[in-house]
Each structure stands twice: as structure tokens, then as C-alpha cells.
């Protein structure tokens, strides 16, 4: 990723707005941008969703294939989460091997989903030690305007809920819905001077001092966290971030469940 420098005066402006409880796009500090999504849009994928969070837009596709388990997890399937930040999505993104940022996003999204227990990896075992389902969750970023952590996690969870296991094509009986019921979600807040803001835009991310992504499960329990950026958070700021994350994810979860008819 190329270096992106936000002028000091811009940061001041963002912070001044924040002191007044608002943001460039008019949102409150703890507000998410508008979420839109459509599921089942990729015929070649076993599950898919196209999701936009403000101007950040991603497609997540799920593919299941039969493969061998890890030697130390003979009776479990395998979840593999991939993310590239391709130059299509933002002028600062460069081609070539996945950047550190892309690796971090893939790993944080993976952790948020995996640690929630949403996927019972034992249920993806076909023949212990020999044949298991490999679940590939691939994140394709179409347009990047900040907070890919939350957008990709949401899209990933929606795509998994949209997934049919391709059993028939593998001579394992009829296709069936991927057995998932939970809705882990993340909320990301950034700190700009002394203000915390949820769901940062690209500009806000680059003006920010620290970032915290928190994965919350259906019970409001915490499943994963990741602090980022070159600054720090105090204990109290983490507590405030948890308050924001618990409330935000609860609201989003309800609204996603409603939209998908759960």
C-alpha cells in the first residue's frame, strides 16, 4: 500500500467536528454508515454476497471443496480466509503480493468468525484424517473507503448464511444449507485525538491515532479484538469502545437477521 498522508489541517478539522459530536458526512460519532447487501449473486460460488458499507464495497464468495485435514486436526474441516487489496479498489493499493494490511484484514475477519464458534469445524469432517470440507472465504474488495474489517466480516457472515454445501457434485447426497445459526459481527472504532468514532471512512482511518476492532457474538460476549495503528488507547477508551461495539453489533445483527428473514 502506498503511503497516504492526510494533511494536519484536515485532521484538525475532523477532530473539531468530533469535538462537536459530528463528522464530515454528518454522522454521529457512534453511527455506522448505511449498509446494503444482496446475497446469492455469484452463481459459481456456493455462497456469496455483495455488500456496501457507505462507499466501501465488497463481494465475499464461499467455495467448498473436498481436501485433507490438517495433521493436528484430523476430524475437523478447514476454514481459509483470503483478502487482497487490489489496485482496483483504491488508488493507494498496489499490485503484487498481499500487503501487510491485507494480511491483517484477512486474519482479523477469520478470527472474528472462527472464534465465535459460528462454524462447527467438526461438522465439516467427512472421513476423519482423510476427507474434510475446505471452506474458502474470499474477500474481493471493489471500492475501499475505510473500515473493511466490519464490512468484510458482515459480508463473510452473510455469505456463510447464504451457502449451500455442494454435496451432490461430490457424490455425498443432496446439497444442504451450511449449518450455521450464529451472527458474529465486529465493530471498529478509531481514536482521533480524544474522540472515538465508529466505522471510520478512509480519511478518518488515516487521520486516526489508534484503531480497535471488536468481535461480538450473539450473546454480547467478546470473541476477538485487534488494536491497530501507531498510537495507543487507554483502558478507559477500550471500555468506551466496548460499549459502542456491543450496542452497534446488536443493532446491526437484528437488522441483518430481519433483512435475511431469520
Amino acid at each position: 500500500m502506498k503511503k497516504t498522508i492526510i494533511p494536519e489541517i484536515k485532521k484538525e478539522f475532523i477532530n473539531k467536528l468530533a469535538d462537536e459530536g459530528t463528522r464530515e458526512d454528518g454522522r454521529g460519532l457512534s453511527d455506522m454508515r448505511e449498509i446494503n447487501f444482496e446475497t446469492g449473486i455469484i452463481g459459481t460460488a456456493d455462497g456469496s454476497v455483495r455488500l456496501s458499507l457507505g462507499k466501501t464495497e465488497v463481494i465475499v464468495g464461499i467455495k467448498l471443496q473436498i481436501g485433507t485435514p490438517y495433521p493436528d486436526k484430523q476430524d475437523q474441516g478447514v476454514l481459509m480466509t483470503g483478502c487482497e487489496l487490489k489496485p482496483m479498489a483504491h488508488p493507494a493499493f498496489e499490485g503484487g503480493a498481499p500487503s501487510m494490511e491485507a494480511v491483517e484484514i484477512a486474519r482479523v475477519v477469520d478470527r472474528g468468525i472462527r472464534e465465535s464458534g459460528m462454524m462447527d469445524m467438526y461438522s465439516f469432517c467427512i472421513v476423519p484424517g482423510e476427507k474434510v470440507w475446505l471452506v474458502f472465504l474470499d474477500i474481493q474488495v471493489l471500492n475501499y473507503d475505510g473500515n473493511l474489517f466490519d464490512a468484510a466480516t458482515m459480508a463473510g457472515v452473510l455469505a456463510l448464511h447464504n451457502t449451500m454445501v455442494p454435496a451432490a457434485a461430490n457424490e455425498l447426497g443432496d446439497d444442504y444449507k451450511l449449518p450455521v445459526t450464529l451472527w458474529p459481527l465486529t465493530a471498529t472504532v478509531v481514536k482521533i485525538k480524544n474522540n472515538l468514532m465508529a466505522d471510520p471512512t478512509f480519511t478518518e482511518e488515516n487521520a486516526a491515532y489508534a484503531r480497535l476492532t471488536i468481535s461480538i457474538d450473539d450473546n454480547g460476549d467478546i470473541r476477538a479484538m485487534q488494536k491497530g495503528l501507531k498510537g495507543a488507547l487507554t483502558y478507559d477508551e477500550v471500555i468506551r469502545a466496548l460499549d459502542i461495539a456491543q450496542e452497534l453489533t446488536q443493532n446491526i445483527r437484528a437488522s441483518l437477521q430481519k433483512s435475511t428473514g431469520v
Binding site: 459459481t44 467455495k63 487490489k86 474470499d138 474481493q140
Partner: protein, 252 residues
């Protein structure tokens, strides 16, 4: 082997597996200006192909030694999403994508007025989100709309389509099974304003006569596609949104 020979690509009524006539295109839907960050973009649905093209530029050339002091360079990166095919596709470049990127760049370089932007780069990214045969043609078709959407001056848009041969008969806009089981495939891109061919490949088996007919069939179809491309740009740049909607519906 037995089951392969049993598949009839053309039925007794002369219709193809998806009901198309031999010289009929699959449904094509093009939308210009679909991405916020890119300087230009276009989304194409073409049969079950789903392809998005983004253009950045003219901008600084990276890496610098590729810079041309006389004109802009055109760099194309064609890529299949991990989930775009029947099997999961490993990320990263491969020989097929390298070749398609090369010939697509060469086709665009013919129509873009590169001389207006010395020392700069026009970067085109084509992502195949779902593949259903003909992705290189659909990708180039989308890419030239995206270049236009970026406001980069061009001689003309570049429509592209493949002609082929199935059950020994010439067919237009080769479908997935026709590609796998058919006898020939001829992807072609045509610049209507100049009457020039800017992309041309072929594999399979054509007699000289068949080849000539296939080329003509593809060229004619390119003219049709050209209209759809122009409509997409008109829809985006015409202020009356109600009219646009009507056109869009009419097209589908």
C-alpha cells in the same frame, strides 16, 4: 467419451442449448460508473459472466522505468476472482491471465489517444466475478466503457465477442458448453469507427471459408454490442433519469 458425444449443442430446430439462435448474442447488460474511487468503471453482465472494470489514470507510471516520454502507456490486469470458476482459483498471476492482460492492453492502446498523456500510465483492472465463457471479450467490452467513463479520449469504444463452431455449425457468442465441446472459438474485437480488428485469436478447427464467415459474424455482432456500450454511457451522462430507466428496461 460416450457421454460427451451424446451432448447435442444444436437441436433439431437449429437452436442452441440455451435456446439461442446460431447468430444470437446472450443478454448483455452494461452499467458505466459503478465504482466511487476509480476514475472510470463499468460493470457487465453477459450471460452469466459478471465482470467489473476499473480505470485509473492518466497517472504517474509505476515502476518509473516503464515511462514513455512520447505517450501514455496502457497497463491491463485481467484477473479471475477466487470464486469465479467451477473450482476455487488460487489468487495470483497465471499464464492465461498474463496473456489476456497483454492482448487486452494492445487492443485498448489502439483506440486510446495515448499521445495526449506523455509519461503517464492508464491502468485498467478487469475482475471476473463470475465466469461463463467469453470473459476476455466481455472484459475488453467493459474496459473500453470504463476508459470512456474516465473521460480519457478514445477513437471509439471497443466491442468484442467470440464466434465459434458447435456441432459443425457457426455460432455467435460461444457459451460455456460450446466452448468446452465445440470445434472452434474465435474471440474478436472490432472498432466500428475505423473498421479495424484490434483483438483476434482463434483455436480449434475452421476451414478458410468458415473462418471468414465467423469473422464477419463477430464483426456484425460487435456493432450490436457497440450500441449497448454507447447506451450505457448515455444513461450515465444523460441528465433525465426517467428516460434512462426506460432505456434500461427496454434493453433487458
Amino acid at each position: 467419451m460416450i457421454c460427451l458425444t451424446e451432448i447435442k449443442l444444436i437441436d433439431d430446430d437449429g437452436l442452441r442449448l440455451d435456446g439461442r439462435k446460431p447468430d444470437e448474442l446472450r443478454p448483455i447488460k452494461i452499467e458505466a460508473g459503478v465504482l466511487d474511487n476509480a476514475d472510470g468503471s463499468a460493470y457487465v453482465e453477459w450471460g452469466n459472466n459478471k465482470i467489473i472494470a476499473a480505470v485509473y489514470g492518466p497517472r504517474e507510471v509505476q515502476p518509473k522505468y516503464l515511462q514513455d516520454t512520447a505517450k501514455a502507456i496502457v497497463q491491463v490486469s485481467y484477473n479471475m476472482a477466487a470464486f469465479a470458476g467451477d473450482d476455487r482459483i488460487r489468487p495470483g498471476p497465471n499464464r492465461r491471465a498474463t496473456e489476456i492482460s497483454k492482448i487486452t492492453a494492445e487492443a485498448l492502446e489502439r483506440v486510446i489517444l495515448t499521445g495526449q498523456y506523455p509519461r503517464s500510465s492508464i491502468d485498467v483492472y478487469i475482475e471476473v466475478l463470475e465466469a461463463d465463457a467469453g470473459t476476455r471479450c466481455a472484459g475488453l467490452t467493459a474496459a473500453s466503457v470504463a476508459v470512456a467513463d474516465a473521460g480519457i479520449p478514445m477513437i471509439d469504444l471497443v466491442p468484442s465477442v467470440a464466434a465459434g463452431k458447435a456441432d459443425g455449425q457457426l455460432v455467435l457468442d460461444v457459451g460455456k458448453l460450446e466452448d468446452n465441446k465445440g470445434q472452434a472459438d474465435l474471440p474478436l474485437a472490432y472498432v466500428p469507427r475505423t473498421g479495424e480488428i484490434v483483438l483476434l485469436q482463434m483455436d480449434g478447427h475452421f476451414t478458410r471459408k468458415e473462418l471468414e464467415m465467423a469473422m464477419k459474424m463477430a464483426i456484425d455482432a460487435c456493432k450490436e454490442i457497440h450500441v449497448i456500450q454507447q447506451d450505457a454511457l448515455k444513461r450515465k451522462y444523460t441528465p433525465q433519469s426517467s428516460v434512462n430507466t426506460n432505456e434500461q428496461e427496454a434493453e433487458q
